[in-house]
Assembly symmetry: C2
């Protein structure tokens, strides 16, 4: 209870831009073996497999070219490593794709926290006109209903008279995403007692992130806030907290109003869900607009904009070494085979625009 209160206090403190250093010695946590599993969407092997197929299936986009995996690549960092993502018809999104790895531990989804759960999140991009571009949920459902292999799998997994529903599509995808966990980073091994797992540089960095104050926000199992918050509550911070540095203009930090774009509340202007540090070494470019190319620079920007501190090069190096120690082990996965429509086409009416 004390821990819970302490963390809430920390969050509240920073929300008010209070910059006094609060001890977060208890904030560093190894990755739990499992993320929270909602009672109404239990994990089963068949549901995980179905979710993996859906996650990798471009037929969930209007023209069959974009899958969840296009922007959240599970063969890599769980992102597309682009500043902003590209959806159907070459359209570019407004924000940088957050990693899907360990997203199951976050207490709100999307950069602005507008989805409470992975299930809610999964329903968004399919219908977003500049992402997967489906005009309505019914068309997504209709697509899958045409495919015998999906008919069978949804019936087996969900049962009932009408197993292929938009809700069940989201449930299967979210279930798969709850398997996308990367344990056993050097940091985790260190926390479990292997004191040689971290280099001296990384150990100095670990001390620094606490002393400098980074872990006031970047705490909890994925360094994105305490897991004791209710799912959906989210953990947000103003970025920049200390406006006025050169970085605001250099990286366009205030051009996007963040959480206020979804809540329409003035107090949410430039508020963002605190992103995870896990695998952050692999997810460049950085921040909601993907404007910062390297992790070194991202660390400098954060120290200045969030804590009003200028770090020395040596400090940046140590902190980056610690952040690098948070790259976990990616689970071995089989390549799914997507169920096919036989002797017929799902996607019609597409004509070439190439010159003959």
């Amino acid at each position: 209870m004390l821990l819970f209160g302490n963390k809430l206090f920390t969050a509240g403190c920073l929300t008010l831009a209070c910059c006094s250093y609060v001890s977060t010695a208890a904030a560093l946590e190894a990755l739990p073996a499992q993320p929270p599993i909602p009672k109404d969407n239990p994990m089963t092997p068949a549901k995980i497999e179905l979710g993996k197929q859906l996650f990798l299936d471009p037929r969930l986009s209007v023209d069959g070219t974009v899958s969840c995996n296009s922007c959240h690549n599970v063969m890599s960092s769980g992102t597309d490593n682009r500043a902003v993502s590209v959806g159907v018809s070459g359209q570019k999104g407004g924000r940088s794709a957050p990693t899907v790895w360990n997203a199951a531990f976050l207490t709100a989804q999307f950069w602005d926290g507008r989805a409470a759960t992975l299930e809610d999140q999964a329903k968004g991009p399919i219908l977003n006109p500049i992402e997967m571009g489906m005009p309505n949920p019914e068309l997504a459902v209709q697509r899958l209903k045409a495919i015998p292999g999906y008919q069978k799998q949804f019936a087996d997994v969900f049962g009932g008279a009408d197993p292929i529903t938009y809700d069940n599509i989201a449930k299967a995808i979210a279930t798969y995403e709850r398997t996308l966990i990367t344990p056993d980073s050097a940091f985790d091994r260190y926390m479990h007692g292997d004191k040689k797992a971290l280099s001296e540089t990384a150990q100095r960095g670990m001390k620094l992130v606490e002393e400098v104050g980074c872990t006031s926000c970047h705490n909890g199992p994925v360094f994105a806030g305490p897991s004791t918050l209710a799912m959906g509550q989210g953990f947000f911070q103003k970025f920049p907290t200390f406006a006025g540095s050169k970085y605001d203009a250099t990286y366009g930090l205030m051009l996007d109003e963040g959480r206020a774009t979804t809540t329409k509340k003035i107090e949410d202007k430039n508020m963002w869900r605190v992103p995870t540090w896990r695998n952050v070494a692999l997810t460049a470019p950085y921040f909601h607009n993907g404007s910062v190319k390297t992790l070194d620079e991202a660390v400098r920007v954060m120290a200045k904009t969030q804590l009003n501190k200028e770090l020395k090069d040596e400090q940046v190096k140590d902190i980056v070494a610690f952040l690098d120690s948070l790259t976990g082990k990616f689970p071995a996965q089989t390549l799914p085979m997507l169920p096919d429509l036989v002797n017929d086409s799902l996607l019609v009416g597409e004509a070439s625009t190439a010159k003959k």
Copy 2:
């Protein structure tokens, strides 16, 4: 030798639009266990794994959004099941993506046969401005050279002072593609002695494709022409051979001049590499322009345009049942992890075009 002569004769005959039926009793062949392997690019497990990573890596496209797999999906039919494919910036290609499954058996690559080998083929789409859009081979090489995991793998696989070359990228991809073989279809089991593997309908269809004359061209291990041809020679046919049917206009069959677009020879006008029948049930829509939605209709169109025959519905049904028996077993594959750049971005200068 007789077999070889007989097949060459068959091909030559049809090239001249000779429509007399030539016996192709020897033309039906089970899928060999292995495709031809070029002497200068032997298969090794490490090269296959590297090739798989490259095949699935969108960083081989200029903006990091399109991989070989985007259009030749190895989680599915080896195509994108679209009329024409979508490359970088939402650009649409001029021809329908042929399947990569069993492409290793073809004696020429691309619809117009302009590449002699899989190695040659792999070099094309990366540099095609409407496909993967790399401005030159050097940028592709430079991208991979920046990634430590690729540096190590190319050195291990190819050795030498400068292992990451455009030629070696193509060699690795081609090596992976030679593993994309789908044996053990119902037809193959039938050919290996299991006479119950084919339904009566499919067996009637098998007789029909010979009697009607389809196998004059669709013969050999993948029903795309004899494997006795030299690699690079290719096996071509005029489409439509019998011009003037309603299908020419309905499906725009003559709008693309086919092989003549690459050879610039008048005699190659509307000549096309004969496509494989293997897994044809899964690769709708059909033909070089993806204009035909169903396999039934594709069979009708081919009988009319290539053999000047009108098939009865029952015959179409039988032939489609036979074609359906050519869907093979897809090998289990692991999902590769693509080597990452650490703490830095490969793709820069991309700004959002979304409204704020």
